[in-house]
Symmetry: C2
Subunit: 245 residues, 2 copies
DNA sequence: GCAAAAGTGTTGTCCTTACACCCATGC
DNA sequence: GCATGGGTGTAAGGACAACACTTTTGC
């Protein structure tokens, strides 16, 4: 756009044929890659699949796909998520584009990374081909392409995000105990938090609904279960300041 | 990537020819657009240029260009910045990609927005063709393409960014008074701040160097001039928590 | 009764906010 | 001397961090 700056008078050679202009543009293959975080066994996990490129045989890669003609990037990311996990209508956010010319062994491919959080137990993986599985984030290595870099960046993004917005709830079951919530924050942020202060913090935010149920089948005193008050959060989103620890 | 999930045994049809695979991918034209913010007359401004598309005759657009073959997105953005302002080695950050299929009248073009802050007086615009000029952000309208949306998003990004990192300094001359600094923050955040508290805040951050000079030619008591301590900031970047008002 | 985690309050410290007066300079 | 902004301190309130004991349940 506005590509050539003339050194003559302005408005003398406006481009009339926008289509022709665009057709002359160089084109690049474009993909989306989804970094889908989950939480299980007190560990942050990410959905990975064995690469189907011989070049990366045995290495894990992210779930990704080509962006189709006339498909929005967001759409493409939602499509990948739906196709691979059966889930729609979840949180999904663009993180950034990765464009290193040599990031794909088959030639230049630019990818846009998307981040998503979901509850592992809420959706069983239907397809296990290519070893699709939840991999602990902290032990990931040797990924295909630049996918490790993408995961790292998305992880940083997630750490920042859950302190500014209560997105962590997307990783938990509908009903959860305060301990589960705290475990989640501790695992993602890599810190340990004072239990009493943690509970006070969330109590004062007034985003938890006490549903008058207790944990079942735990080998210790059961805790109360809560739901997240999505409605209230949506209402006050604009005024939202953040969660500090 | 990892496009097709087979429903047969894994590892049976790994893709051998990565190049062929990529060549079969659909391709899209890709551009970068730079949202270059400046600060002048106590107003936040953005660098715009008249669109050279007849379709958008008279409308302003951002500075943008095609991403060249084998050019990284960051590189492309730096190139645009250099070509249009003569400036290199300034702060520049990717904000996000915009991909609406109808965002360009000539067909599908995906663009990646970059944000940059620079000191208006430090670099005179060398080329004034197509009415290249600094436009007050608050009075922008009727921009070409989806550029208004891009500017809006970058403005939000900037508001957030200058509260987390002392990037505002990039908008000021090397030497500046505390009042100038405060004006900058007030203009960008759209709030008014208590002068004493503002000064205390920055004093406690210890990022300003008193250079023992005073303002000249001001119609009132001159204030002290400061420089920003870039070195110190870079050192402590990792521990950086933020600037809250 | 023992292990394991749930649940609960107080205090000190620090940070943030609100607020008013005198000072230096240009005109 | 008057207008304009520069420069400074303090007190109150709110948020955060540190900290220990009792309760409930499963085994």
């Amino acid at each position: 756009m506005t590509k050539k700056i003339s050194n003559e008078k302005p408005h003398e050679h406006l481009i009339k044929d926008a289509k022709k202009l665009v057709q002359a543009y160089p084109k690049v293959p474009l993909t989306v890659d989804c970094v889908i975080f989950g939480f299980e066994e007190n560990k942050l996990k990410v959905l990975v699949i064995k690469s189907d490129l011989e070049y990366y045989q045995g290495h894990y890669s992210l779930l990704g796909d080509i962006v189709k003609d006339n498909e929005e990037l967001d759409q493409a990311a939602y499509r990948v998520l739906k196709e691979r996990t059966g889930m729609n209508d979840v949180f999904l956010d663009q993180v950034r584009a990765f464009s290193h010319p040599a990031r794909h062994p088959g030639g230049r491919v630019i990818t846009v990374a998307y981040c998503s959080l979901l509850n592992i137990n809420h959706h069983e993986l239907k397809i296990h081909d290519n070893d699709l599985n939840w991999h602990t984030v902290s032990t990931l290595k040797d990924m295909a392409f630049d996918h490790k870099e993408i995961v790292d960046e998305c992880y940083s993004w997630l750490q920042k995000m859950i302190q500014e917005h209560p997105l962590g709830f997307n990783l938990l079951p509908e009903k959860f105990s305060l301990r589960e919530l705290q475990n989640l924050y501790e695992a993602i942020l890599g810190v340990s938090l004072d239990r009493r202060n943690f509970r006070k913090k969330f109590a004062s935010m007034d985003l938890l609904v006490d549903i008058n149920e207790m944990e079942q089948d735990v080998p210790h005193r059961p805790g109360k279960l809560y739901k997240f008050n999505f409605e209230k959060y949506e209402k006050n989103k604009r005024k939202w300041i953040g969660i500090d620890f």
